[in-house]
């Protein structure tokens, strides 16, 4: 039996009079890939922002591995193993690719400022370990040759992958990818699908939550799909059920005569 990792119960967010997310409930198990799809403005990214605590919930409950995390802060939630990417690759522009990934291991580091000043062995050990983990992760995503470069000088598709490496390096329980395929050309999209499969093979326990518009990606890798429209879940199911759901077609294609 696989274990439930992340669960939301009736989470809700209003912006002024607009209900961005209305009572969204879902759960994701160990090793599962779930996609959230829906037209622009359906509240998909808001769900991510609620789970990663950028926004406060107006109602509902979120739990991680059975523990209630509704009241936790962004920092706590990140440290507990929920990591994410953004629609517009928010990399640290002034840092090298390697440092961008190493940053995400900061909280796993185990030496203090005092130890660093006295050059104690734990500083060297920790820094070596951090660099090794970051390099492993860059290798997995075939990014190791960019390690010393600044992200701003790299093609957009590479930047998106660096962001995935950064989200993955701390060995999270849940990886949330916000439109990982947006802005990618067809070749890059293929590569992305391959990398997602490799990530799945390397981290069999990792639960992945993906917001995506590219249906070829969604249909080929997700185990289960939620369809959002105007903040509400209008359909859910496995890929073939969703593809033929009349409500989904209506939301995507508009009212048909």
């Amino acid at each position: 039996m696989s274990r439930c990792i992340l669960k939301t119960e009736g989470i809700r967010k209003n912006f002024g009079g607009v209900v961005a997310v209305k009572d969204f409930s879902f759960e994701i198990d160990e090793g599962q890939i779930i996609a959230i799809i829906g037209p622009n403005g359906a509240g998909k990214t808001t769900i991510f922002n609620l789970v990663s605590k950028i926004y406060e919930l107006d109602a509902g409950k979120i739990s991680l591995c059975g523990a209630d995390i509704t009241k936790k802060s962004q920092i706590e939630v990140a440290r507990m193993g929920i990591s994410r990417t953004f629609q517009n690759a928010r990399l640290f522009t002034g840092l090298s690719v390697l440092d961008n990934v190493r940053v995400a291991l900061d909280f796993a580091g185990k030496y203090s400022l005092i130890e660093a000043m006295l050059l104690l062995p734990r500083r060297w050990k920790t820094e070596r370990e951090t660099t090794r983990r970051a390099m492993d992760c860059l290798e997995l995503l075939n990014l190791d040759r960019y390690a010393g470069q600044r992200p701003a000088n790299l093609p957009y598709g590479i930047q998106r992958r660096v962001e995935i490496a950064r989200a993955l390096v701390s060995n999270p329980k849940v990886l949330m990818l916000d439109e990982p395929a947006a802005g990618l050309n067809p070749e890059e999209l293929f590569q992305l699908m391959d990398f997602l499969r490799e990530i799945r093979a390397k981290y069999p326990q990792l639960a992945m939550l993906i917001i995506e518009h590219r249906m070829d990606l969604v249909m080929s890798i997700s185990d289960y799909i939620y369809v959002q429209d105007f903040g509400e879940t209008i359909a859910q199911g496995v890929a073939c059920e969703i593809q033929n759901d009349p409500l989904v077609l209506k939301a995507y294609l508009g009212e048909e005569e």
């Binding site: 640290f92 522009t93 002034g94 900061d106 909280f107 660093a116």
Partner: protein, 293 residues
């Protein structure tokens, strides 16, 4: 003669660098110019002075520097607690930090004036001779001490920023505090670390300035202005730019003072800053400091 001037200039510039870096590091993380830094330098100069005086025999200078640095950290935390903490909690616009930091700086100067008046105090002499010779070249003992201590401090600081996890976290928060939080970086701790570093720098530079000049309540504010010029010319928020600019500034100042006198020198220095702002406002380092919330 010009070699001595050069050493003296680099020595002065390295103190400006300590000040500029203390200023720049707070700017890079918190995005405001911490003018309270000048007041803190003055306060630390007095602390060092009284520490030197309070023992029957003058303690070694490194003990005084260490003590002053610790007091600088305490003072830095106190200023943050009194002036900035609530602004942060309210996510106040930068203009309020600016006002708070200037107010704190003036308050510290006034407190020092009330207690010590506007008299000049001089640190007790710590060396038997004010100069020493290497071969036939004469060096100023104090300038050399200042140079060595400052360069050591800067080296430690660069190591800390470039080679440790705290430094990496500071750089990340400086670039984007919001994204850093999602990486699990405790930005609250980073702010504490940054104020601690600024405090150490204020403490050390206070004592070094005290050794070089006589101390008076506005000493720190005046010197901070030079550090501020350096951090602007260096590119606000860029540590290496600030260090380079500070050392150049020190050398230029010493040479100008020697050839033109101390009255007209500041006019030229501030003139250079105005030219820089007009021609290259992004500084030597070449990147605009961005205010991100």
């Amino acid at each position: 003669m010009s070699l001595q001037l050069l050493i003296s200039g680099i020595s002065l510039g390295s103190v400006y660098a300590l000040i500029a870096v203390g200023f720049a590091i707070v700017f890079s993380v918190l995005k405001f110019s911490n003018f309270a830094h000048g007041g803190m330098i003055s306060a630390c100069a007095y602390i060092g002075y009284y520490f030197q005086r309070s023992f029957p025999s003058t303690p070694p200078i490194y003990v005084t520097i260490l003590f002053s640095a610790l007091c600088g950290v305490a003072l830095s935390f106190l200023v943050d607690f009194i002036a900035y903490r609530r602004l942060r909690a309210k996510q106040a616009p930068n203009i309020y930090y600016f006002l708070a930091s200037i107010t704190v700086s003036i308050a510290i100067v006034q407190i020092l004036s009330v207690f010590y008046g506007n008299n000049l105090y001089a640190y007790p002499a710590i060396f038997e001779s004010t100069t020493f010779f290497i071969g036939s070249i004469r060096f100023s003992t104090i300038d050399t001490l200042i140079l060595l201590v400052s360069l050591a401090m800067l080296a430690v600081l660069i190591y800390l920023i470039d080679k440790t996890r705290v430094g990496l976290a500071i750089r990340a928060v400086a670039i984007n505090a919001q994204t850093s939080k999602l990486m699990g970086i405790n930005s609250g701790f980073i702010i504490v670390a940054v104020f601690a570093i600024a405090g150490v720098l204020a403490g050390v530079s206070g004592v070094l300035l005290g050794l070089k000049y006589s101390i008076y309540p506005t000493l720190g504010s005046q010197m901070m202005l030079k550090g501020f010029i350096a951090s602007v010319i260096g590119g606000l928020g860029s540590l290496s730019g600030a260090i380079a600019a500070a050392i150049i500034l020190g050398v230029v100042e010493i040479f100008l003072t020697y050839y033109l006198g101390s009255l007209s020198t500041p006019i030229i220095l501030f003139g250079v800053m105005l030219v820089f702002l007009a021609v290259r406002p992004e500084g030597i380092a070449g990147r605009f400091a961005k205010d991100k919330v």
